[in-house]
Subunit: 335 residues, 2 copies
């Protein structure tokens, strides 16, 4: 039985959507979820829900971290927050993973402090699955490290390749380095240094620099970049997809005929757009793992709905089932 701790207090719609998502994961997928947070509030939501499950446990945490607190401040005070209690459950092996839609910075900082980094990993990285025309691509770092050294990116590559292989089931995953052009003469100081280091990794399926279009085409299984660039890439993708639909609406409203066409088109397109939206919706895709720690932790979008929370729990379950953490430890500390 896989048991996962969920920060019930983190996210814009907590605890309601978190509790509902946990119940869905328990009822529909048999995941044992420990809801961590204000017990009274959690119980209230549990009673309100149309679901109920014996697989749900509650662990009380008297406090939680507000979205506008400073990440470092929240640690310094050492309060018994839902994030801290969740991570301690993982540290004490009461659960196999932690999922939180709360304050990302505070969650990452607390995870690193409590779980510790794996040996040889200088910086943990957020890895996400980017939808492509062929399926998906593991991309990291999506925002944990805004200033990176070349050695960090090589470590990201190593973790990303393993994740693509073990969790995403890709054989001999191909690796690309995000750059401003495919030619070796392109890139900035950092990427050129990384190129040099990757020359010493003939065992990796490294294809060289890739551009955004290559990612969307599905040219590579894993792509690495620094967290500043990765975060801007991710947010550009997220916001452009919604902007495109708004622009379609804007264009359509210019003429009565196209307004009608939009209505009919939208009706006919409904399923198509729904599926497409799902492929690009990162809250739906679930959670992004923070890789490089001695424990499995998953970061969710702050705006996570119950469906997103459920999918996040499923994503976490997948890595637990595949014993990803053991494989990662082995990779960085072969016995």
């Amino acid at each position: 039985m896989i048991k996962i701790a969920l920060d019930a207090m983190g996210g814009d719609y907590a605890p309601r959507e978190n509790v509902e998502g946990a119940l869905m994961a328990a009822c529909q997928h048999g995941i044992h979820v420990v809801l961590v947070g204000d017990e009274k509030k959690i119980q209230k939501e549990l009673h309100k829900s149309r679901f109920s499950s014996a697989l749900i446990e509650v662990a009380h945490a008297p406090d939680h971290i507000g979205m506008h607190e400073k990440a470092t401040e929240s640690l310094r005070t050492n309060r018994n927050t839902s994030i801290k209690i969740s991570l301690e459950l993982l540290q004490n092996q009461k659960v196999s993973a932690v999922v939180s839609a709360g304050h990302t910075g505070a969650f990452m900082a607390a995870s690193t402090l409590i779980l510790k980094r794996l040996p040889e990993i200088e910086r943990p990285a957020i890895a996400g699955c980017i939808p492509t025309l062929k399926g998906s691509c593991v991309m990291l770092d999506l925002g944990a490290n805004v200033d990176c050294r070349s050695s960090h990116l090589v470590q990201f590559a190593r973790m990303g390749i393993l994740y693509a292989n073990i969790v995403e089931k890709k054989t001999n995953p191909s690796l690309g380095l995000l750059s401003n052009g495919e030619e070796a003469s392109k890139g900035n100081e950092l990427t050129r240094e990384v190129q040099e280091l990757l020359k010493n990794k003939p065992e990796w399926n490294y294809v060289g620099y890739v551009e955004s279009k290559d990612i969307f085409k599905g040219k590579v299984d894993v792509v690495i970049c620094d967290g500043f660039v990765g975060n801007i890439f991710l947010k550009t993708v997220e916001s452009l997809v919604s902007t495109t639909f708004l622009l379609i609406r804007q264009e359509a409203h210019k003429k009565p005929l196209s307004r009608l066409a939009l209505g009919i088109g939208a009706y006919l397109f409904k399923d198509v757009l729904k599926n497409l939206g799902r492929r690009f919706d990162y809250t739906q895709h679930g959670a992004a793992p923070l890789l490089g720690l001695n424990g499995l932790v998953y970061v969710c979008h702050g705006r996570s709905s119950s469906m997103a929370i459920k999918n996040a729990l499923l994503t976490a379950k997948k890595s637990v089932e595949e014993k990803f953490l053991d494989r990662l430890k082995q990779e960085f500390h072969p016995v």
Copy 2:
């Protein structure tokens, strides 16, 4: 009469589309165009076209720079390339601007060498107009400088604000700094340094950090970033828009009913999609100016069609008409 030099040999479809675009600009918009390149080839295309105009001149250049040459190599040999001859026409005030769809790196390097940088400008930057829900936003640098210092970004801001004001007719343009979050605690080493420097510019309408979603919403008139990030942003936008349409098609083909819906929807949506495509098509939007030189030069996409070339010439004409270069010189060297 505004006279502009066009590199007739640069781009994937040169000289055919270049000559055709020049003829369209001359016939439809009264722009005097000097076609620079292999005279025989240009004359052949001129004869083939259904257009003809007395506003077209040809300046022979025996050589041109191939798309796969190294930018630095092409300069060292000092051949009489179409780019070099075009820039010399501008240097000698025979034309008011130069437009090229050729090798961007070589074009930028030759422009800097021949025209020289303006005083106080350490690095020229490529500025582009990003479509937004409210209109457009001037973004720079889109790829001229992959490694930037904070002083460079402040200079980009100064040039971008002036461009938005003079050419894009925005009053007191608002300025944003592209980052991984809006809070002042976000950003990387470079953006934090730039934030500090911008505190000394109370005369600018600086709104702070912006994210991609803010750009698309039209929150700012000008946005600055280093050329590596800017280029990746631009390419992500370009390739995601086309990927979205491919994904719609892919989703639609999964079921016969939605295939039918796609057909009907596409028919009804035709104009809407066409307009939308136009707003996001950078080749249609024309050319991006390389700002910071003692002369107006415009970089086009390598895949420029005749329509793109025509629009590039129109974009260049607009800056010439507004005497943008004089205003820029004044800004950086007030008398």
